[in-house]
């Protein structure tokens, strides 16, 4: 009985599998490349945009710190942040694209890591409006640095998509780390992480001040 059942089910599987395989084979054999838009260096622009916030340690730690701080502050910061930050950063990006200079950008970017790291370490609970202003100012400077790279990119649209997505994912990463605040040990861990971010910010600040001097 069992043997018959298995044979029957195997036949059913094989009879169902054959048309599926034939369709898959036909689809594969008939596949044609799209001789369509020859958009220049989409992949390269996308990868460059994605890597730009990830390879600059000062950008990376500041973006993660923004997410963690947002999670520490709770609502509404935790949901306003990921919605508005990319747009505010894009304003800075436009300034960068238009080559409108900002004062001491490297110093402010380093300072952002120091301030945001310290805020996380001290669990600084600023009013929402004040926290938003602090983050917005830093967002403009970070966006400016990314935007300045855009015109040099082989595919500016792909570069823009890449860096906005990378920045958003870094925030998400920070927010997810920030959810550890639910547990006392997690809260201490996050504060420790804030100290590390602030220390790195100090290092970058010293470096940029040295370069500026």
């Amino acid at each position: 009985m069992t043997g018959n059942g298995r044979t029957m089910s195997s036949r059913v599987v094989s009879s169902r599998a054959v048309p599926g395989l034939l369709v898959a084979m036909a689809a594969l054999v008939l596949a044609q490349p799209a001789f369509a838009h020859e958009q220049v260096a989409v992949g390269g622009g996308l990868v460059r945009g994605l890597l730009h916030p990830l390879t600059g340690m000062d950008h990376l730690i500041a973006m993660v710190a923004v997410g963690i701080w947002g999670a520490q502050l709770g609502a509404p910061a935790i949901w306003v942040l990921p919605i508005t930050f990319p747009m505010v950063m894009a304003v800075g990006g436009v300034l960068g694209v238009l080559r409108i200079p900002l004062p001491v950008p490297e110093v402010v970017i380093a300072l952002s890591a120091l301030v945001l790291g310290a805020a996380v370490a001290m669990r600084l609970r600023l009013p929402f409006a004040a926290a938003a202003v602090v983050v917005a100012v830093f967002a403009v400077f970070h966006g400016h640095a990314h935007g300045a790279e855009l015109p040099g990119s082989a595919n500016p649209l792909a570069y823009g998509v890449g860096f906005v997505v990378a920045t958003g994912l870094l925030h998400l990463c920070g927010i997810m780390i920030g959810t550890l605040t639910r547990w006392p040990a997690g809260e201490r861990l996050i504060q420790g992480l804030g100290v590390v971010i602030a220390a790195l910010g100090c290092y970058f600040l010293a470096q940029s001040l040295g370069a500026a001097a």
């Binding site: 094989s14 044609q32 436009v94 935007g147 500016p156 958003g168």
Partner: protein, 206 residues
């Protein structure tokens, strides 16, 4: 696995291993122009971003408002294609595309309650723009009817699938899980608006 099924798998694996590009009959039969029309917008990042943003916006507003786009969007693409061919209106320019990306992103980020009529007008306008842009790459040898059919089918499939995925993601009847999903869609809107703003700046700078 029984012996017969194993043989089928082995045969399939052998065939896959030997597969080569078919420089063959489908193009010669001119049916290739259908696929060219269907794949043409999917190889353009501007089309991909704009179509996806439109689909997500329509999906975020609910099925009652979004379902009109299933018809309006492909028709708009066809109208744009005709405009592009007949009047030589090819592209509205990068600033218009960037502006449309920005508007769609802002509407999503703000969770604006867009009326169905306005949604249809935006979708038709967008489809008109992109249809005309796609007409710009029609060659003299291209079968326009097949190209148009492919483009309309791609528009229909893309907008319907994106709306359906967004509606499923929102899971309107899902209770407490809804809040963060709505925020995630708004965050995607923020990303899209940021891309549009950047491209607007770039279009103005060049």
């Amino acid at each position: 696995m029984n012996f017969r099924l194993a043989r089928v798998w082995i045969a399939a694996a052998m065939l896959f291993a030997r597969v080569e590009a078919a420089d063959a009959h489908i193009i010669a039969a001119r049916l290739g122009d259908f696929y060219t029309g269907a794949l043409h917008p999917l190889t353009d990042l501007q089309d991909l971003i704009l179509w996806a943003a439109m689909g997500v916006l329509a999906g975020s507003l609910g099925a009652a408002k979004g379902r009109w786009l299933v018809l309006v969007f492909p028709l708009g693409l066809l109208a744009g294609l005709v405009l592009g061919r007949v009047f030589g209106v090819v592209s509205a320019g990068p600033a218009a595309d960037a502006g449309m990306i920005l508007v769609l992103g802002l509407l999503l980020a703000a969770a604006a309650r867009v009326p169905a009529t306005l949604l249809c007008a935006i979708a038709f306008g967008l489809a008109l723009m992109r249809g005309a842009a796609n007409a710009g790459d029609l060659g003299p040898e291209t079968d326009r009817l097949l190209f148009a059919a492919g483009l309309a089918c791609a528009g229909y499939a893309a907008i319907t699938l994106t709306m359906a995925l967004t509606l499923t993601f929102r899971r309107l009847d899902g209770g407490p899980a809804v809040a963060w999903r709505g925020i995630a869609i708004r965050a995607v809107g923020g990303w899209i608006a940021a891309i549009g703003l950047m491209m607007m700046g770039f279009a103005l700078a060049t």
